[in-house]
Symmetry: C2
Amino acid sequence: MNSVNISTLGYALLGLIHQKPSSGYDLRKTFTETAMGSFSNSPGAIYPALERLEKRGSIQSEVEDRAGLRRRRVYRLTASGEKEFKHWLAQPVTRKEVVSGLGELMLRFAFMEQALGATGAIAFLRKFRIELDAYVPELKKYLEEYGAQMPLSGMLALDSGIRNYETLQQWCEYALQKYEEAAAKKKTSRVRPVLNRTGGMS
Amino acid sequence: MNSVNISTLGYALLGLIHQKPSSGYDLRKTFTETAMGSFSNSPGAIYPALERLEKRGSIQSEVEDRAGLRRRRVYRLTASGEKEFKHWLAQPVTRKEVVSGLGELMLRFAFMEQALGATGAIAFLRKFRIELDAYVPELKKYLEEYGAQMPLSGMLALDSGIRNYETLQQWCEYALQKYEEAAAKKKTSRVRPVLNRTGGMS
DNA sequence: TCCACCATGTAACTGGTTACATGATTAC
DNA sequence: GTAATCATGTAACCAGTTACATGGTGGA
């Protein structure tokens, strides 16, 4: 538990390593090949970030020396790293993040279930919805007040932002519903619920 | 025309100064009070950014010494600054920006009309739509392929991203329509079109 | 032989964050 | 006199970008 903060990239790495012990190369591949493309896959970002995390004691590495292939340094979470990761996940959704940190917010949510379970995900969604419900009317009011004196493209840009937040509101409802469904299934069948693909995701 | 690149914040400043010559304090206020809240309003970001822009010759300052109030340094665009600004605006919409630079993209659009006119805005929207139309199916395919093996929250996070891009597609249509309307009005009435507020923005 | 892929690093640079410093004016 | 607002700066720190370096393995 060092004093310096962990960056968004750092948490993304913690989350992926939490899923499965990985090497720097694995992580880079994840960033290039999966939908996490918003993160940089450059070695100059990832390897130093891993070093920092190791230095602060959140992860620890082990060199895997396999015949043939080049040795790879595989990282796994330490107990304190897992604690930090969960603490990050459990952070309440703030207004500030809703305004300018949506990416990190969604990252948190993506990792949430695996580390905090459905309960954590639901709590997150509820708080998120509250913040969205407070923010959207403000944006609309702003558009109404100043829209007329803006050039059309400025007005439309603002409108685009509002639409995005409204879409998030709808998404919150949808996601909460999905969790309710999953909970109901669990209750009746006593079996780990399989994803219900009816109704079409997206 | 220095060699170093201008950051997103730099372009945001150029755009605002292009609208109206401003002091650092004015610009900070804009970031705190308007919908441009995603930019930092900290003096440690803005004043150095203004200095850099001035050093490279994109803006130039003049100290306004008004009786009573503290002197303020007011910046305005130079000819070369305006050229750089317009060049940035005219940049084609790339896949990369669609994936991880949406913020800058919308910033560009917001400033577009005022500097490049409706023609520029329309060209932007068309290219944007093409990139979105190419990207959205890829995301959906990815969700279909890997969604089942992801935890529900991961799947939902991805779904949220897809919804956002779909909303942008719809927004593109809407925006293009608005520009067509504006063009039609201009043609028939030969008057600078007033914003049509019917149909409800957002 | 040379390319593609596996795999890890380093070094220079730079822009943004946080926090502190300063000082004038207006209103209470 | 003191708080709020106007107004501009500086300094330490740090993370990420770009680009380069290195080297092993397998296949064409």
